[in-house]
Amino acid sequence: MFDVNELPALSAYEWAHEEKHAFLTRELCELTRHHAARCPEYHKMLAASGVDVDRVQRFEELPFLPVRLFKEFSLKSVPDEELHKTMTSSGTTGQQVSRIYLDRETSTLQSKVLSRIVGEFLGKQRLPMIILDTSAIIKNRAMFSARGAGILGFSMFGRDKIYALDENMQLDVEGLKAFLKKHEGEDIFLFGFTFMIWQHFCAELRKSGYRPDLSRGVLIHGGGWKKLADQHITTAQFRQALHETCGLTRVHDYYGMVEQTGTIYMECECGHLHAPVWSDITIRRPSDFGVAEKGALGLIQVSSLLPHSYPGHMLLTEDEGRILGEDDCPCGRKGKYFEIIGRIRRAEVRGCSDTYEQK
């Protein structure tokens, strides 16, 4: 197997199809064997799938787990004494949350790969950082949420950090003024969750009439569009609001999930989400889970080389999307690029994983 410690040395978007696909196939087969040898539940599922890893020609032939399984089972491939931390997904009240078990190696790998990907958009320097959220978010460590974990993960890329909103969700106007004066003429890194930015940061700016000059800012935001889509807010409206209220133009959405932390899919200057070299996107038809043609809508499968401590290297998400192209985005980045359409209805996904379990 590829030495995992060398993974972060790869360049995030340099490899075209042939090289990347061969690399992923070899490594994902190896990871499949790794988990089958260490996680009894995974071993059973692999056996039930009938796939012979030694005969796999393309990684798409390997079995994938519905992401929901991490809500129902404790799946891990390391002994308990090697566990370093457990991540949980954010769930609405009453919903079960995913539990993802990390050892030190997987956790470090996640941080390193995330820093490679983000570095492609922010540069190598750590920039002064504004967190577009409330300072209350990481105060209570016991209630550590996926949002708090996301903020901390991205805090590595910043320095001299401030929160745009105080503990009462009010805009910290004086704090922002002082910060921008201190860092006049510098590029600034902004990070936040899409819905929080829209609902609180933009709204507070509008209300207050304060118009900070963030034209040198680079915003990375994530967390999904569901809440905004429910309010019929489009990407264009979101970007327009940021431009009007604070002059921000460099705005990058990202797609990612706690079940595969580290390998996030960043939105490029052309508005396309890009798969980095350590992971890939496969679109599957909801009818038979076969690989959909380029451009066709289907369920998003994510494959990542980072999960070593839990068998989450190949997961079928509940998100729907389509591949827009591969290796030929005008931004120059190689690899597949895609878009997310939304989330599939729960009942359909349930059906899909039940089918899988019955095999």
Partner: protein, 78 residues
């Protein structure tokens, strides 16, 4: 203050631990040195020695001893 004192002090203040416990500390092995504590520690070290730590070094700084090696790269001898 010597560099060693400053170094220990950064741990004490950012992680809220006793000075005598500092040399045995490892990231992730105590409640205080979790991911929140880690970012405060980095900020405290940067302030104490007036340096800017690279991302890779932030990730690699996993123990009291490892931190000394990393600071040496920034011409800070502990």
């Amino acid at each position: 203050m010597t560099n060693l004192e400053k170094y220990i002090n950064a741990f004490v203040e950012s992680l809220e631990v006793a000075a005598e416990d500092v040399p045995a500390l490892k990231y992730g092995e105590s409640d205080q040195w979790d991911s929140v504590g880690h970012m405060s520690l980095i900020a405290a070290l940067e302030d104490a020695f007036d340096i800017m730590v690279d991302m890779d070094d932030i990730i690699d700084l996993s123990s009291f001893e490892k931190g000394k090696e990393i600071l040496a790269k920034y011409d800070v001898e502990i």
